[in-house]
């Protein structure tokens, strides 16, 4: 039920592939639903991960926040699962669950003791087959989303600037720039018919991928999946929205006064490359050099050194994605909190100076080696979790049609050369392509102006 949102992760994990091989069995049901199974009997736990090929970027004008509102509706019951029972059945079987809405996909998971797999399959198939779309449920969830907005955004420092204002500055195409959490006005306007149409269009088996990772036996699992999902009818493939951004890129800068913030911050972004292009891998490696681990350039030169930054985070696709689910058009962007004895412009200049060093002097071989080791160890650590493995498998399928990237993609990061990093810095990270949002502490009464 959380909106995918990375506010306090100070460290970018460019985590992709397995150190040795994660087993993958991929097949497609007759109704077009793709299934990915990965057996690992080390711990009696399974993750059931359902990912739908629809995100907030398909929303229409007047319906901001709809994809997320719909995600909430998925927990409100279906033909055989009474309202409120979804949570109860997962939890009373010892599991955890959640759903989250992203710009380019929506996902749901259950992590369960492995002997409870059938419960998860029953729940996921019942809501894909027969979601309960009623006015009562919709009204109730509109209120829940509004309350979520008050809690997670309107009452917190930086959050409104990041979720509502940054995309407007970073993008020109409305599909990319509108608020993904949505306005109260648009949430109120959503109707039961909107929900029914969205469900029919996007929540069909052929627009979804089911991933199961963990303590399973493949033949039994396949049989159960066929029994639960096999006869859910497919739907025509939905049209994809036009997400293209205008080719002319001009520098942009704005100031946001944040009534809840006590420490100044700045967001800096640069329009990024095509997903999984050579420049994408090069920029992702550059990001590791800048912000990965305790010996990163930002840590050594800006937190130490200039003593200007207090915290930093950066990602391909920040704030809603990271390199594994970055989808163009998107930015390489960073969010920096800094000491008030510096001006936002000084911080922007310091960052641009770090970029200029790469553009001019390139990358030291030892430094790049360290970054590679960091990626390798980060990946082993993150792949311990069956949920994380399932997420990666599902996202590589939705974005690339290649779940096997979980095993092979690391190599694409590790083989980036110093010249490619330098080239990407020159091509993408120039002041002429830069977008800046300054977030300055404001006295409380000014809060009203921003809403």
């Amino acid at each position: 039920m959380k909106f995918a949102f990375l506010l306090l992760i100070l460290f970018c994990a460019v985590v992709q592939a397995a150190p040795t091989v994660i087993p993958i069995e991929k097949y497609t049901l007759k109704n077009g639903m793709r299934v990915i199974l990965s057996q690992d009997n080390a711990v009696p736990v399974i993750t059931l991960y359902m990912i739908y090929d629809v995100g907030a970027r398909v929303e229409e004008k007047g319906r901001t926040g709809f994809a997320h509102l719909f995600e909430h509706m998925m927990f409100e019951g279906s033909a055989n699962v009474p309202k409120g029972m979804h949570f109860k059945l997962v939890e009373s079987n010892g599991g955890t669950l959640n759903g989250s809405t992203h710009p380019d996909y929506t996902d749901y998971f259950e992590v369960l003791p492995s002997n409870k797999l059938a419960v998860g399959l029953w729940l996921e198939s019942d809501r894909m087959r027969s979601l309960a779309i009623t006015k009562e449920n919709l009204d109730n969830q509109k209120e829940a989303v509004k309350q979520e907005r008050r809690l997670s955004f309107d009452n917190r420092p930086y959050a409104t600037a990041i979720v509502d204002h940054w995309p407007q500055l970073a993008f020109q195409n409305w599909q990319n720039s509108h608020s993904l959490i949505g306005s109260f006005e648009d949430l109120n306007a959503s109707s039961v018919e909107d929900v029914a149409r969205f469900f029919r269009t996007y929540y069909a088996p052929d627009n979804a991928v089911l991933v199961i990772v963990g303590d399973i036996r493949i033949p039994e699992t396949k049989k159960l999946i066929e029994q639960y999902f096999g006869d859910i009818p497919s739907q025509p493939k939905p049209a994809k929205p036009d997400l293209s951004e205008p080719a002319n890129i001009a520098p942009r800068s704005e100031v946001y006064h944040d009534a809840h913030a006590r420490v100044p911050g700045v967001i800096i972004g640069y329009p990024g490359p095509i997903r999984r292009s050579p420049d994408y891998y090069a920029l992702a490696m550059l990001d590791v050099l800048f912000t990965g681990g305790p010996s990163s350039r930002f840590q050594l030169n800006l937190v130490k050194g200039k003593e200007s930054l207090i915290q930093y985070q950066a990602e391909m696709g920040w704030p809603f994605a990271s390199s594994s689910d970055y989808k163009d058009p998107g930015d390489y962007a960073m969010f920096l909190l800094f000491k008030p004895n510096f001006t936002p412009q000084q911080i922007v200049d310091q960052v641009q100076e770090e970029i200029a060093k790469i553009q001019k002097d390139g990358v030291d071989a030892k430094e790049l080696d360290r970054a590679r080791t960091l990626l390798r160890s980060e990946q082993i650590i993150s792949l311990q979790s069956s949920l994380h493995r399932a997420q990666l498998l599902g996202r590589y399928e939705i974005f690339d049609g290649k779940p096997e990237l979980i095993n092979t993609n690391l190599e694409n990061f590790l083989t980036v050369t110093p010249a490619e990093i330098q080239g990407a810095a020159k091509k993408y990270l120039t002041p002429e392509r830069r977008t800046v949002l300054q977030i300055l502490p404001a006295p409380a009464p000014a809060a009203q102006e921003n809403h």
Partner: protein, 465 residues
């Protein structure tokens, strides 16, 4: 990464449904329990306790060097000192600058960080298993030879002040700070964080004094979990690095005296808040109290997860809040029970009332058999899932070794939860969830919500700091 069947976990079996009845949930076997891996324990002559646990699932080794030196040992005028020392131990030693440490860590695929909780001071991290000896070098160096360079001390103080300012903009921080101050009284558990004043007073001397007094081998446990070298070799690696570490005389622990719980209502005024953060609770059982397991189960029924009473009533039925839950803060010498929700300003009266009603109900009526079974599964399953990664397994074992828990704590957790009876939950609720003894802290815009709170008793308004 070679993955093997864990010898210490029951392998699950997948239930086979022959025919599918979609109208009701499939029947499945009970949640399996946790089987503890073999633990090897020994002690060096200088008093350092050593705990080795084999975990062959991943090519990783996790380390924790933990001291009885958490924030409860901070001097009265220096709250936050343990946290400051923990942050600084990795910033430079007598032979390695911050840059040296950071580059060595990154180049062996390791992390190493200091952290102070209310009870325990921990230096911990993980490393690719082939580099185990190298991370042990760095761990020993920061534990024994951190030299707290003046520039790093100054930088950390400045940044801590800014971070503190940022935290003070969060209503939950203000609520927790006030709540801890009220329930712990003069006990140093009330030191929720450093203050601007304590940060000003901290200097290199106070930091070195704290380190010299507390970071000694007879006050420490070294825990290694993962793909370790053979036992004799691992112990030799440890002896080579920690054997010459000098014993110390341990300072006295703070007296375990806590104030009586009583009903009171404090409103922390945060102008411009669009909603009110409500925290209601009191001191409760520790992990070693006989009441502990009934309290754990009762707390989960009241406010654990999305099937709990608070979630279903406050969020789903009344639509007052996005989040409504309860939690246990389990410190070594005292526990705390708290129910938490956030409601919009105009609903603050109904919000407080709903939480108080649910608290009363816990003592009034016994929980139903099905509710009890469900919640026991919820707790057991969550416990099993929480042991999936090496880091979480390591933290759980570290907890047993540093919080004075019995050796069978992890292995017996599930069966102790399963043995809890309804009358025990009611007794625990009478003791710990009684509204007439609850401390109520609300953070919000006093101009908008003070009136609505008056029906719950005298409202003491304080400005947010």
């Amino acid at each position: 990464m070679r993955r093997e069947i864990l010898p210490f976990l029951f392998a699950g079996t997948t239930l086979m449904a022959q025919t599918i009845d979609r109208t009701k949930p499939p029947e499945t076997p009970p949640v399996p329990s946790f089987k503890m891996p073999p633990v090897h324990e020994t002690r060096l002559p200088n008093g350092l306790a050593i705990v080795l646990v084999e975990d062959v699932r991943f090519p990783l080794v996790s380390m924790r060097l933990s001291f009885q030196a958490g924030n409860k040992f901070d001097p009265q005028d220096l709250p936050g000192l343990a946290g400051m020392v923990a942050g600084l131990v990795t910033q430079g030693t007598t032979t390695r600058s911050y840059r040296d440490l950071a580059e060595e860590l990154t180049s062996i695929g390791a992390t190493l960080d200091g952290h102070a909780s209310p009870d325990v001071f921990t230096i911990g991290g993980s490393v690719l298993s082939e580099n185990t000896a190298k991370l042990l070098d760095l761990l020993a160096d920061v534990a024994l030879n951190a030299n707290f360079p003046e520039n790093e001390v100054q930088l950390r103080k400045q940044n801590a002040k800014q971070t503190l300012a940022a935290q003070r903009s969060q209503p939950a921080f203000l609520a927790n700070e006030k709540f801890d101050a009220l329930v712990f009284g003069s006990h140093p558990y009330s030191f929720f964080s450093a203050t601007t004043e304590s940060l000003d007073r901290m200097d290199r001397n106070s930091i070195v004094e704290f380190r010299d007094a507390f970071l000694v081998p007879n006050n420490a446990v070294l825990l290694l979990v993962g793909q370790l070298p053979p036992q004799a070799e691992t112990l030799q690696l440890v002896r080579d690095r920690f054997g010459s570490w000098k014993k110390g005389t341990l300072p006295a622990e703070p007296a375990k005296k806590f104030p009586e719980s009583k009903r009171r209502l404090v409103l922390v005024d945060r102008a411009g808040s669009v909603q009110a953060d409500i925290h209601i609770g009191r001191l409760a059982a520790t992990r070693t109290d006989p009441d502990y397991y009934p309290l754990v189960v009762g707390n989960a029924i009241l406010g654990g997860g999305a099937s709990s009473r608070l979630f279903l009533d406050v969020r789903e039925k009344k639509g007052l809040a996005y989040d409504a839950h309860s939690e246990l803060d389990r410190r070594r010498d005292a526990g705390v029970f708290t129910a938490v929700t956030q409601v919009r300003n105009e609903e603050v009266g109904p919000g407080v009332e709903a939480v108080l009603d649910n608290l009363s109900q816990m003592a009034k009526a016994p929980v139903a058999a099905s509710e009890l079974t469900d919640v026991k599964n919820y707790i057991s399953g969550g416990f099993l899932i929480s042991l999936e990664t090496q880091a979480s397994l390591t933290d759980q074992i570290d907890l047993v070794k540093t919080m004075g828990l019995p050796d069978d704590y992890l292995e017996m957790f599930t069966s102790r939860v399963r043995s809890v009876e309804p009358d025990q939950i009611q007794a625990a609720a009478r003791k710990y969830m009684d509204p007439s003894q609850a401390t109520i802290v609300v953070v919000g815009d006093a101009a908008q919500i003070e009136k609505s709170l008056e029906k719950f008793g005298p409202v003491q308004v304080e400005k947010a700091k």
